[in-house]
Amino acid sequence: MRTALWLIPTFPLLSAVLLAIFGPRFSRRTTALLGVGSIALAALISLGIAADFLLSPPPEGRYSQSLGSWIRVDDLRVPIGFVLDPLSLTMILIVTCVGFLIHLYAADSMRGEEGYSRFFAYMNLFVAAMGVLVLADNFLLLYLGWEGVGLCSYLLIGFRYTNSENGRAARKAFIVTRVGDTALAIGLFFLFTQLGTLDIAAAMQHAVAEWPIGSPLAITAAALILVGAIGKSAQLPLQVWLPDAMAGPTPTSALIHAATMVTAGVYLIARTASFFILAPPVQTVVAVIGAATLLIAGFSALVQTDLKRVLAYSTISQIGYMFLALGVGAWSAAIFHLMTHAFFKALLFLSAGVVIHAMEGEQNLFRMGGLRRIVPLAFWGFLIGGASMAGLPLITAGFYSKGEILWGTWIGGGPVLWAAGVIGVVLTTLYTFRLFFLVFFGRTEAEAAPRPGFLIRIPLVVLSLLSIFGGFINLPSRPRLSRFLHAALPPDREGAPGRLTPFGSEVIVAAAFMVGLLLAYELYLRRRAAVRGLMRLPMAAGMYTLWYTGWGWDLFYDRRVVRPVKALARAARSDWIDLIYIGLARLTTLSYDALRRTETGRIRWYVGGIAAGTVLFIGLVLFI
């Protein structure tokens, strides 16, 4: 079964190519069958490989497969090779299974849309690129997947390209993530020149053997990889693209947020963990960025009025948790949260899609209300997904993953980062249930919506189940996933637990959740007037604007980057170097004009010219 590993990215890629070429000629049925079927096959193969991997673990805990050479120049050899270890196995399961559920949903929800086959071509390519990124055993192949993911996000965010706003959002996402990608590319060149290999495992072994901890080489490498991860995972200060990426169709958002794009950065850091362990200052920066991002995005999510933008900020915030976990050395906790996040964030987005569909495209929270009875399916989806994201104690997956991160932060990161994480729990609960109460309670204005189809109900139900039970795979008393992942990840950072016990940490997470829930209940369900009262405070309006605009990062980039670059471009448009070329062009035009006039079509002029030329030539020959 393991030998089928290469088929996981191949099936979606094949289907994407077929859809791209023959898509417009296929019927909708064929398109959906191909688009969803290829991902279903990939998911089935992943499940089969996972079962095989667990039942008969390969020697050394990893299985690698080489399909041949991609590049072979001198002693540089880049194979097309895939590697299967606990980390990539977990990731590929998330990507294909959650991706499959999202595709299933999209098959129905995108039904009436222009460009149905184009949509599935992009989506399949997205999953294929992510598969390559996850399974790659060398940096170059990983980078191929990395860029493929970036390309697909661009295509999908700008899917409804007739609206120029969407094109703008797509370009923004592309350019902002490109900043990170450039840093990553430089990092990979750097690693290659220093270590002489592109093989990920070999490079890390070399580095561990040759570089002392905290050496400048290790710090440079880790820092460059980190910038790449920040760009893809929408962390501070490159987070500005994600809220605007909501311009894409809802299944796209679900795919980007849950299974593919933004998780790539977390995966990259986990994959290259050895470099980060060799560079403790950079690892600290990872943790600080994670903590800062989760707070900043949490506050921004609190005041957004657009349903999908709240979810976008919540993703930035949750990825912040993963970065925090990576930074404090709780490696498996980060991947665990990545997994549970994939479940509940996909569920939240798909539920949001049902809500938006029922509201006929309306996304403003304050124009919704009372949807509980109209779309019960989305109500339950939101309740379960939201509770899981906020960390409803004991019965949701999010509680266990977040609890583990906070415990890891306490041990490996110290009380300040831990406090930031706990405040983050309060914030998460507050904005999640604000959303929930505003959408589903209160007065209703919407009319009864048509019952969502079969293909929409299945993913929502499955993801709901996963959002609840997915956490039981890694209970604190029986951490099966962590133990499994430890074969591929470095050991968690040790530290003095101090006076807090794991149980105490869980209690505090639960308490933070209750505080957030009570606040949301009081502010957005029982006393809506109190919020309006708060808004009248002198500080409130300023804070509101600051949070609403994502802490002014867009403005900052506009002032400090976009405008200077534009001014520079404008200045460069008329510099003196251009004058040379313009002069050359003018001269050519002039001589053309002059020579053109000699071509009159009058024979006698030509004869005169020939005669004069002959005389001149003979004269020259005779007298010189």
Partner: protein
């Protein structure tokens, strides 16, 4: 037998050639242009004959036969073109042919 110096013969050829060239340049009527070309060809032929006589070689006369044959061919084609031109433009003015500019 009276000898005509070679310079005189060449001078006559040069004069004839110049007359032909001037005719070619100043005349607008296409038939006169053709005639001027004939004059120039004859001037060239005369130069060959004079040179052949000077060195007592047959080459000059052979060249003249070539020129004669070519002139005949040229007149045949040229007059055919003149006929076509007359049909097309109802004119014998060479400048009327300038529309192709090439």
């Amino acid at each position: 037998m009276m000898f005509i110096p070679v310079q005189h013969g060449l001078l006559l050829a040069a004069l004839l050639f110049t007359v032909g060239l001037i005719g070619l340049l100043v005349r607008r009527n296409i038939i006169f242009i053709l005639m001027s070309v004939e004059v120039m060809l004859n001037a060239a032929g005369l130069a060959f004959v004079v040179a052949g006589a000077r060195w007592a070689q047959a080459d000059g006369q052979v060249m003249f036969f070539f020129i004669l044959a070519m002139a005949a061919a040229e007149v045949a084609v040229g007059l055919a073109l003149v006929l076509r031109m007359h049909r097309q433009y109802e004119s014998l003015d060479a400048d009327a042919l300038s529309e192709m500019r090439g």
